[in-house]
Amino acid sequence: MPRFDDQDDAQESRAFRPLLRQGPRFARDAAARPILMFEDVYKSYRPGAPVLRGMNLVIERGEFVFITGPSGSGKSTLLRLLYRSETVDEGRILFMGRDIARLKDDSVPFLRRNIGVIFQDFKLVKTWSVFENVAITLEVLGLPQRLIKARVGEALERVGLAGRGSDAAGVLSGGEQQRVAVARAIVGEPALILADEPTGNLDPQLAIDILGLFEEIHESGTTVLFATHDRSLLDVRSRRLIVLDEGKAMDVAMGIAPAEEGYDNELPL
């Protein structure tokens, strides 16, 4: 299975190495391109009220990017376009050089195998065990059970849930459920992690813990897009920040200033 070229430089990144899975039209030179490029993307749900209006954005491999903006600014839409739950009205979204919008429906599952998605409401199957919720990502890939057990064990350990595999997902606390969701997203070693308000249902301390988890994942080389409107999280670490407003992406390099230094005036949050 081919790896990203730049992963060779990150040998210290322990066992977690994002892989580029071969889809129907895999191109090796895609590894040299930015992982994501939005080119003049338009998307609207109602006529005359576009959510994204000619949005342009480039995200390089291995970046950790916060995406923020007021409610309705298109944060979730942007992520949904990426995992092809929605399609663009106009423009292109290139993921590893391939236009997501032009993928045929039967290629979408192969796209999603390269993307880990985490939601505010966790999207766990409550009646399944923790193990089953995480293992399903690998079962879809058709890996043998022995390998699945080993890799799920590793993923649970990474999110601090070692030994909790047999617990029913429904009885876990919110923070634990989100950790399971993170484990499910990373167990397949995707190239890109999308987090849509992953801390929205958690208290501030748990939210910071979960953010720390994402940073650990990012340190191992994975590109992370973290959509949030929680200003406190943006202050925790200095990261690239994309602000969505009026359907366009505004790049605010190296984080944002604290609120008392004019944060509210600078950003439409």
């Binding site: 739950s85 039967d106 599952p109 796209l111 199957v125 399903i136 890939l141 499910r184 397949g188």
Partner: protein, 291 residues
Amino acid sequence: MLSIGTTRRAQRGMLREWRLHALSVFSLAVAFVCLGAALLVVTNLRAVEDRWAHAGRVSVYLKDSISTPDVEALKSALTATAGVKSVRYISSGQARQDFAQTEKKNLAGLSQEAFPSSIEVEVQPDMADAELTEMVTKLEKLPGVDEIETYQAWTDRLARLVRGGVAASGILALVVFASVLAVVGSTIRLALQRRRTEVEVLKLVGATDRFIKGPFLVEGSAQGAMGAMGALALLATLFFLVKGRLDGELSSLIGVEPSFLPWPIALGMVGVGAVLGALAALLGLRRLVAV
């Protein structure tokens, strides 16, 4: 194709929602019992028809005026006829006596004409209908012969009954097929609705529609097959219970030992149940949860 993973996920789904599936299997079993019962009746009627169609008997009723030498001549001629196994003369008195013994009734009030003398001819079971008809035509022309009974009319009536039974079974089969499609389709749609999150998660982690549908198809198929098997088990229990109670009376009445559905038909029912169940599930899954 059917993988171990698909089967395991189907098993997991069925166990987690066993009440829903049990209800579906029960409904299907009721439908299949109707079809199975009809097939059971048709199978046994066909056996009776077959038995009597090849009874190989002809009763030649003689006129009262026939003389003993004519009877002997007729017996000799019949014995020499190709396809005839044996010939037995039954006098009027013997016929009366036999009937009285069989029915255990006082026959004093019945006239002598009620029991004509006859020659009972046993023919080879494989004797062709045309040959039998030809022999009967020749016999009818003889002056001493009053009437000939070949039991053809009775077997014709039985054949009509069997044809009616087959037609009824066909209609019942259509009703059962429709009910399987409706019951399994509804169950699978309900299961899909209840497992909406599961389907969403599967789609998010990159499962193909085939991967998602697989377990539901197995569940539908299993429901159909289990419904048919349940029906067969219930029918078999009832059949052997009734057969045990009636002992040999039924077989002496109809001339054949009643039998349960033959293996090919029983297996066919299970197979049809499985295929229809899978088809119903496939139709129920036309629109998966959109993610």
